[in-house]
Amino acid sequence: MDMNFVTNLLLASVRMATPLIFISLAELYSQRAGLTNIGLEGLATIGSLAGFMVSLLTGSPMLGVLAGLLAGILVNMIFAYATISLCAEQIVYGMAINIFAPALAAFVYRVYFGSGSELVQVKLMNTLSSSVGITPSNFFARLLLDQTFMVYLAYALVVFTAIYFNRTKSGLNYKAVGEYPKAAATLGIDVIRTKYLASIICGALAGMGGAYLTTCYTTTYVDGNVAGRGFIALAAVIFGRWSAGGVLLACLFFGFCDALQIRLQVMSFGLPYQFFQMIPYVATVLVLALIGMKKAGPKSCGKPYRREER
């Protein structure tokens, strides 16, 4: 195990954490407005397909990301209308999105591409270094320059979110909706509008996270390519104690653990591969034990808001 191993491991962690950051931020915005949306897997899946198809049709990965964003918003409006306007159970509708959206994605894929077995591949988004024509040689140059626009956007969003929720009046109002919507309403905050706004942001970010997979990471779309990231993102929000910085650290931690198990599997050390595959899960249990399970999330999460209710 040398310096090369460590640097490549860290670079892999960043690669693997990026889609998680988008999807986790999506959940953070949703929960901060009192909406527990477990449908992230479905939203990311539809975003992944939309990103792939638009990228293929237009040759522009950026338009693909935009399509993923719009697809995520569109699908999440089902969740928003059902849970905000109809006051339906959030967990049930989140689960429904998780079943509905991947099935819809598979259906659209088959309708468009037919039942052919040809592997369709798209061109990925350029990294900053390739766009400006330089070849970064050392670790820091690769870390900072050998990334796509989406990676910079993910980290910029983390900074923006941290400032927005903690340093702006609008952000504090937004959080108030997630904590005690009736009190927020008495202060003149439009709770319903805030919740719909949260759903739009959630759909957009989760869709972008999915689109990242097919416009920046892999050249193909395969059913199931989101591979549980929607559920990991849910854990990351709890891990991160509902703060942008915490969510970032949680995503980097999950990305690091997954990258580590892959690299240790390759190095083998004569141990069964299952030993390495359990690393992310063991690490999760250990960290949860260390940071404790104390509830720190928004108080109105999961509860429907009825304006007339006393």
């Binding site: 090369n4 191993f5 490549n8 892999a12 690669r15 693997m16 089902i78 209308y81 059902a82 306007s85 109809l86 339906a88 429904a96 079943i99 509905f100 991947p102 099935a103 819809l104 598979a106 259906f107 894929y109 088959r110 591409f113 039942s115 052919g116 077995s117 040809e118 592997l119 369709v120 070849t135 997979l213 990471y217 892999t218 050249t219 193909t220 395969v222 059913d223 199931g224 390519n225 591979a227 997954d258 990258a259 892959i262 690299r263 599997q265 390759v266 190095m267 083998s268 591969y273 595959q277």
Partner: protein, 360 residues
């Protein structure tokens, strides 16, 4: 009003799910399966027999049929065999392990004549369904040699390409082409056939390299635990390249596609193609720059034999082997990246494998 909208939303989701079931929701798969039918009976080539019965085959698969690898090759094998024999086809792909049995029996209930399950992992589900549906034939690609004996109704046939020979075909090329002396193999699930392929790959590469006056060490097998996580393929390949691997082979469907993407990126960064991949089980030379050849398994001939047996009423209780000797296994086209003398040497080794003199 809200109730009406709620009902409309629920109905919309239900209808969508039903429509999608053929591709992604195995429990309801057969509802949509006929829509996936390859040539309709009227469009299909004339059946080789005079009977008016329309035969139908259904494939279940836990990977995607458009994965550019295993799923695609198995699906094409069914379609080709069906076209040759005048059968209708249906499939359900991307099904979870928990839905293997339910999907199979759904097709059984719809009156399909042959259930085609391409993978050792379906053995338990197939045996259970075969016991409950004695009149239906089950073809298990990569099934165990003793699986047909376990079927109480004698209606299961194992189609068994020789996994060790598959490994040899790829390993001989890897041993000849490696310059670093390190080669790699990526597995999807820990299956007996995957382990046998790895074994054959490693031993053939070591043998051939030694004959060429060099060495070929195969990195330990790794498993992605998925056939669809192409991102895992990327990360595995990058990690293996860091360990010096310069020839890759795999048995992991879309994960292999991800590995090829990483290899192409590494070659592009180096400015020349020095890291190679050997594809399987279809000949896909040209799909990626790094592919130097493919190990080809003619699954269609094996599936075709099963169809013929069903039509003849002789199906069941046997193992149909696929080997280099009977032509079911072969090497695909070879890239220009492989020097002419290496190609000639490779052909010699293939001849030895056919003549059963390889490594003897």
């Amino acid at each position: 009003m809200k109730r009406i909208v709620s009902l409309a939303l629920a109905l919309m989701m239900t209808v969508s799910l039903t429509a999608c079931a053929g591709a992604a929701a195995p429990a309801a798969a057969p509802a949509a399966a006929p829509a996936e039918s390859a040539p309709a009976a009227s469009e299909a080539p004339a059946a080789p027999e005079a009977e008016s019965k329309d035969y139908k085959v259904a494939m279940i698969c836990d990977s995607s049929i458009s994965d550019g690898g295993w799923g695609a090759a198995c699906y094409n094998a069914m379609v080709d065999a069906a076209a040759a024999n005048g059968w209708e086809t249906a499939y359900s792909d991307m099904i979870d392990q928990s839905a293997y049995y339910d999907t199979i029996v759904s097709y059984c209930d719809l009156g399909y004549d042959l259930i085609y399950a391409p993978g050792n992992q379906y053995t338990d589900a197939v045996l259970q369904a075969a016991e409950e549906y004695p009149e239906i034939a089950f073809a298990l690609l990569n099934g165990g040699a003793n699986t047909p004996e376990k079927a109480v109704n004698g209606n299961v046939t194992s189609l068994l390409p020789d996994a060790n020979q598959i490994g040899w075909i790829a390993g001989a090329m890897a041993g000849l082409m490696t310059e670093s002396g390190t080669i790699a193999f990526i597995g999807g699930m820990e299956l007996d056939t995957t382990k046998a392929k790895y074994q054959g790959y490693a031993e053939a590469a070591a043998y051939v390299a030694e004959k060429a006056g060099k060495s070929a060490k195969t990195l330990d097998i790794v498993y992605s635990n998925s056939f669809s996580a192409s991102d895992k393929g990327i990360e595995f390949a990058k990690a293996m390249i860091d360990q010096g691997a310069d020839v890759f082979f795999g048995d992991a469907s879309a994960v292999d596609s991800g590995a090829r993407q990483a290899i192409d990126e590494a070659n592009a960064a180096a400015g020349s193609v020095k890291i190679y991949d050997i594809a399987q089980p279809a000949d896909i030379l040209g799909q990626n720059e790094c592919i130097i050849t493919s190990q080809v398994t003619d699954n269609s001939s094996l599936v075709g034999l099963s169809m013929q047996a069903v039509m003849d009423g002789t199906f069941g209780g046997e193992v149909i082997y696929g080997t280099l000797q009977n032509g079911a296994l072969s090497a695909g086209k070879i890239s220009d990246l492989v020097p002419a003398e290496v190609q000639a040497q490779y052909q010699e080794y293939l001849e030895q494998m056919i003549n059963d003199t390889f490594m003897k």
